[in-house]
């Protein structure tokens, strides 16, 4: 069974981003970039499924500028078999990514697309569901466990009230949540080996889909800062302050 894993290159989650002074966006030049953490989890899940024999081929796909090659190399070093870069300099919003991925699915015919549930830069949580809609496939989002058979995926999902187990027919889209697994570290030897694995570069324009942004950024602002608080000396002081503020009886 072939699995497609879309991986996004994002500002590393440890970086505290700064809003540009002209309000046009956040500063992304000269900051550390990494694979979106949820996509690492998705790659890890795919690799484990391959190790268990349920999956035969893993194709990692990234859409964006040439820098996404690094992200694909990481996926290959973790165990993906080959990479595809859908190259464009256009700002990609989730609908555009979903359309590009649909075009890739039409070519590659995977049985499962395993996305991250959310990219930590736009915090959109949309692309997997949009792709499923465009393909008219079922979906199982926020997976914390995945079992594949030849025709179905049984997925434990993290939902507001607890956990839900769904079964979807394949082909389908599954998105990875945090507790699905702990991704392996990429070792230097594996990174070297990954250099031999192929990465196809496809210009987004050749896929003939409309990727123009639908949402115009008017401005990006810092969230209002909380006023500085105080450290108190003891519990009695705390209780007095909380009573004074009217938040405890």
């Amino acid at each position: 069974m072939k699995v497609l894993v879309p991986v996004k290159r994002v500002v590393d989650y440890n970086v505290k981003v700064r809003v540009k002074s002209d309000g046009s966006g956040v500063e992304t030049s000269n900051v550390r970039m990494s694979m979106n953490p949820f996509d690492e989890i998705a790659v890890e899940a795919a690799v484990r499924l391959k190790e268990s024999g349920a999956v035969t081929e893993i194709v990692a796909v990234s859409a964006g500028n040439a820098g996404c090659q690094d992200t694909l190399r990481t996926a290959l070093a973790m165990g993906a078999d080959r990479g595809m870069l859908i190259e464009t300099e256009t700002e990609l919003q989730p609908l555009a990514v979903a359309k590009l991925l649909k075009a890739v699915c039409d070519m590659e015919q995977p049985r499962v697309v395993l996305c991250g549930k959310q990219a930590t830069d736009d915090d959109a949580n949309q692309t997997g569901q949009m792709l499923a809609a465009l393909l008219d496939w079922p979906q199982a989002t926020c997976a914390s466990q995945i079992v594949l058979s030849s025709d179905t995926a049984t997925v434990v999902r993290e939902i507001d009230g607890g956990l839900e187990t769904v079964e979807i027919d394949l082909p389908g889209v599954v998105t990875a949540d945090l507790r699905l697994n702990e991704p392996r570290y990429v070792t230097l030897p594996n990174l070297m080996k990954a250099k031999k694995k192929p990465i196809d570069v496809i210009l987004a324009a050749t896929l003939e889909v409309d990727i123009a942004p639908r949402l115009a950024t008017l401005w990006v602002a810092e969230p209002p800062a909380r006023p500085a608080g105080v450290k108190l000396n003891n519990v009695a002081e705390l209780v007095a302050h909380l009573r004074n503020a009217g938040v405890i009886a």
Partner: protein, 310 residues
């Protein structure tokens, strides 16, 4: 402006986030239809009809709509979308899985977790775990959005909208709910609690988490919350996780115990009215957002606080 709002419910009760989402809808336009999709869920429609500002409640009942499967709910919304300028849902698990499908089927963008309505086509939402606020203008003919409940105070209940039944779309039939394992507790719901006592890795074990935090939560009538580290370590269930990838909360009082205050956690709670931090590390980042801090051992301070409240 014609707004269609997807109600959140479990066929028995209307989720409170619906009333918050309605508040956002009222800022967009004055014609607002609330869609209740489910099975044997008329009581939910009746409750929705009492929310202030609703024009019509549209009720769709069918057995294949009972479980809220996103394929079916999205198909229902798409079938009913004509004539609406905005389609809204609360940013709950259901809203997040359904609305992107609706948007893609209509070939429009989806705007996630809006926290402000600047105008009927311009909205603000957090990005980068809340470290930046993005304001976007949509040029799409229909705006499909999810709404962060904590950003909009719920509307009142003095309405009396008519309820109309609408035919169900056919079952998509390619997904099934096998089981649900929902956490039940006697405590208030995290999303709507006035007070939250939240614990992190510092609690060190499942036993401690409950032994130390529950008496305080009991005394305050509070909900319990947790960090990802606490959930991953098995101290509590996943539905208590607060943060960028967990629940978003904004109670009157948030008591953060033995948690460091990682940006991903702050993303879920920094709009709380008053934040208290109890941590043995005076440099922990949680103190930068806390109104009141106590530096010291939680195993002494929390029981002392519980006692001081008696």
């Amino acid at each position: 402006m014609n707004v269609l709002l997807l109600a959140e419910h479990d066929n028995a009760a209307l989720n409170e986030a619906t009333a918050n989402t309605l508040a956002a809808a009222c800022l967009i336009g004055s014609h607002i239809d609330v869609l209740v999709v489910g099975n044997e869920c008329r009581p939910v429609a009746e409750k929705a009809a009492r929310l202030a500002g609703v024009s019509h409640v549209l009720l769709v009942e069918a057995s294949h709509l009972a479980d809220g499967l996103p394929e079916n709910i999205a198909a229902q919304l798409v079938a009913m979308a004509a004539g609406y300028t905005h389609i809204l849902a609360p940013a709950t698990s259901t809203g997040k899985s359904v609305m992107p499908r609706v948007a893609a089927a209509l070939d429009v963008a989806q705007i996630s977790e809006i926290i402000a309505v600047e105008s009927p086509d311009t909205f603000t939402r957090p990005i980068y775990a809340g470290n930046a606020l993005l304001t976007v203008k949509s040029s799409d003919p229909v705006k499909v959005m999810t709404v962060r409940a904590t950003a909009f105070p719920a509307v009142g209940e003095d309405g009396c909208a008519p309820i109309e039944s609408v035919a169900a779309v056919a079952d998509r039939g390619r997904s099934r709910v096998v089981s649900r394992d929902l956490t039940r507790s006697g405590r208030p719901e995290l999303a709507s609690a006035d007070t939250i006592v939240s614990g992190g890795r510092g609690l060190a074990s499942r036993e401690n988490f409950h032994a130390v935090l529950e008496p305080l939560a009991d005394r305050l009538g509070a909900a319990l919350g947790a960090t990802r580290a606490a959930v991953d370590a098995g101290f509590v269930a996943n539905d208590l996780q607060i943060g960028q990838t967990g629940k978003i909360v904004a109670p009157q009082l948030y008591i953060a115990v033995g948690l460091s205050g990682a940006i991903q956690h702050l993303a879920g709670m920094k709009d709380s009215l008053i934040i208290v931090a109890i941590n043995k590390d005076a440099e922990a980042p949680i103190f930068q957002v806390a109104d009141f801090g106590l530096v010291g051992d939680l195993f002494e301070l929390v029981p002392a606080l519980t006692k001081a409240l008696d």
